[in-house]
Amino acid sequence: MPAGWSALPPTGPPVTAWRNDQGRRPKVMPARAPRPRFSLLRFAPHLTVALLIVPVLAGLAGTILPAFGLTNGEGAAAFRALADWPGLWRAVHLSVITGAVSTLVSLGITLGIVAALLGSRVFGVIQHLLSPLLAVPHAAAALGLAFLIAPSGWVARALSPWATGWQNPPDLLILNDPGGWALIVGLIAKEVPFLLLMTLAALPQTDATRRLMSATSLGYGRVWGFVLTVLPGLYRQLRLPVYAVLTYAMTTVDMAAILGPSLPPTLSVQITQWMMEPSLTMRSTAAAGAVVQLLAVVGVLLAWHGTERVAKAALIAVAGRGWRMAGADAPARLTAIAVGSVLAGLLFAGLAGLALWSVAGLWPFPDALPHQISLQTWARAAPDLAATGGATLAIAALATALSLIIVLACLEAEHRFDLHPKARALWLLYVPLLVPQIAFLPGLQMLNLWIAAPGLALWAVALAHVVFVLPYVFLSLGGPYRQWDARQALIGAALGASPARVFWCLRLPMLMPAVLTATALGLSVSVAQYLPTLLIGGGRIETLTTQAVALSSGGNRRIIGAYGLLQMLGPAAGFALAIALPRLIYANRRGMRQASL
């Protein structure tokens, strides 16, 4: 045997999630030509897994150990201090209710829209609206909504004084209501586009069109037929995104700080406030709170999983009854269109409100429009906006570039070394999205102590963002990368091109539309990050998002509008470029057109 063969691993490589089939191969000559003896690329999957898992585990340890007094010998003092806080149970209750209700309603709306409208012209419109809606950072969406529904917001102004008789903003707790309903609405408006996108990505693998056709040809209504024939397979693929939404909704800090109640706030907001106390005395209480929050999330996830099983059994039981429910289609269709329009309308009107306030001169209640338009706010805030915007962009660019390199290396390693990700790999990708940020980021805050220089703080924040950007970049790029016709690589090789040349000259340019979309998504995910910036940056790094949230408690709507708008413009420009560039560059390449989104 030639010496080169010994380069092949004797058994499967030590990766936990990626498997190499060579381990199971019969003991004959390996089929593929031997690879270079050593290649960093081979370790890309290991690096990816480490990048996703290590920060989460280290952060959890860094949170849990101090909570139980294992770092200072105080025993359960932290939990006693936490239990002494009178708002605790109310805060936990809020977290559970806002999280579970918003996730349940978001999922219901998403599935309703797909079931009632799949294949219709309205559905095409929805698909086009998804990217801009997704690009809106959570904080900007929340601020826009706050500007709409506040007692002095656009809705009240539009109805006053002719319908309400209000000459002054009413003393109502519509925003920051103690029940958390404003927060629930905000979460739904933001999560429905995300779940819709995940559904669209999963649908092609569910054979939905044909199943729906056979169900309707048997006399079933579209919606009921969808529930009985498509939903079971579809939900299996939606499960992880739904869990991620549930975790996020229970533990969001930025949206809850803007829309949620304040006395007491949700548990995650309270933990963040304790973490940010300059005296550092509340840190262990915060850690104990984070443990309680983590347990609450685990509990709700388990309950959700149990409900899934009950729902599945109920669905199977009812499927045999033969109810057609054809009459439900028309009302379902109308409801889906109405609810979808209201949600999209809320987001767009909110953003328009942000934009208008940022250029508003005098705008007294109850006027629906400002008296003058002025650029004064922008002019006055320009230096701050430029500095903050620059930092935001630098962090987003760093985090996205790093994520992109790692993901591309990982996918290329899969291709070159014939690795096949197991189902478990998908779970690993979701780990940073399933473990609440508030449960592990506090544990990483000790990094603060090591990074004194501001330049390093920027890098640390960017690295923290990678943990959350990378999963999205991977999810977005993985499909197109794996679906790329590998015969093109083979032809390239047969023409004498090295694997590197095949990658740079064939695969990458052909996948450019997908790479650009993943880049835009990565940038928007990074721009939207609040807690990692706040906690890892230790207050030294200010981004548009942290500033917008910090300003939201003050009353200066004009400056909030400017920050909120700018926060949204970056990602929107990114998505616009991701659509426009491939069309421009490949204007004369018809074969490249269907590849772009």
């Binding site: 030639p2 390996p30 593929r32």
Partner: protein
């Protein structure tokens, strides 16, 4: 003694212990060996083995010797074996000329010389002036010819044809088949043509065998 041509010495492809294909033969320069069999009979697997692109799970034994050089353990890019598929697989993001340029070796000359070689190749194939065209705007026959030119410009020492004519309509098929076989013969390439079309086999006019090496 060094023999020219493509020498398959007891080449055997297995999948999980089952033999998929087996060949022990030599294809002389300018000879066309036809491998026939129904789909799923292991014809394409055999080509994958020869070119070095078998997916994991397959096993290969034996030797592939090309013009006296054992290429069995070389990566695809260094075997110097060209391949044509039933779809032409022109790279969609490159112009026709750039597609040909991808095949042309890096040491084939400076930019102007490369351009000249490509233009000449196109002209010889009735594709003069096509260099800047988008491959998606070409007809089936034009695409097939461009794909062959690209393969030949890479200066292969052998050529594998994986049902390259089955997607073409009948009138065109005859024409393109003649074009490809003539070019291959004039380059004195040993050729393996995998097909299930008796017309292909007839046109090749040489030995016809099954994927298991049996004479047909």
């Amino acid at each position: 003694m060094t023999q020219t041509g493509l020498d398959l010495r007891d080449l055997r492809v297995t999948h999980l212990g089952t033999q998929i294909a087996a060949l022990n033969t030599r294809i002389a320069p300018a000879e066309v060996l036809v491998v026939m069999g129904p789909s799923g009979s292991g014809k394409s697997t055999l080509l994958s083995a020869i070119i070095g692109s078998l997916p994991a799970g397959f096993g290969v034994s034996g030797q592939i010797v090309l013009n006296g050089r054992d290429v069995s353990h070389l990566p695809t890019a260094r075997r110097r074996i060209g391949i044509l598929f039933q779809d032409d697989v022109l790279f969609a993001h490159l112009s026709v000329g750039q597609n040909l340029g991808f095949g042309l070796p890096a040491d084939a000359g400076n930019k102007a010389q490369r351009r000249e070689i490509i233009d000449q190749a196109l002209a010889d194939a009735d594709l003069a002036g096509f260099a800047n065209r988008d491959p998606a705007t070409l007809s089936g026959g034009q695409r097939a010819r461009a794909a062959l030119l690209r393969t030949l410009l890479a200066q292969p020492a052998a050529l594998l044809l994986d049902e390259p004519f089955s997607r073409l309509d009948l009138g065109l098929r005859h024409h393109i088949r003649q074009f490809v076989l003539d070019r291959a013969r004039s380059h004195r390439l040993p050729v393996i043509l995998v097909t299930h079309d008796p017309g292909d086999a007839e046109a090749a006019g040489g030995r016809i065998i099954g994927p298991d090496g049996s004479a047909l």
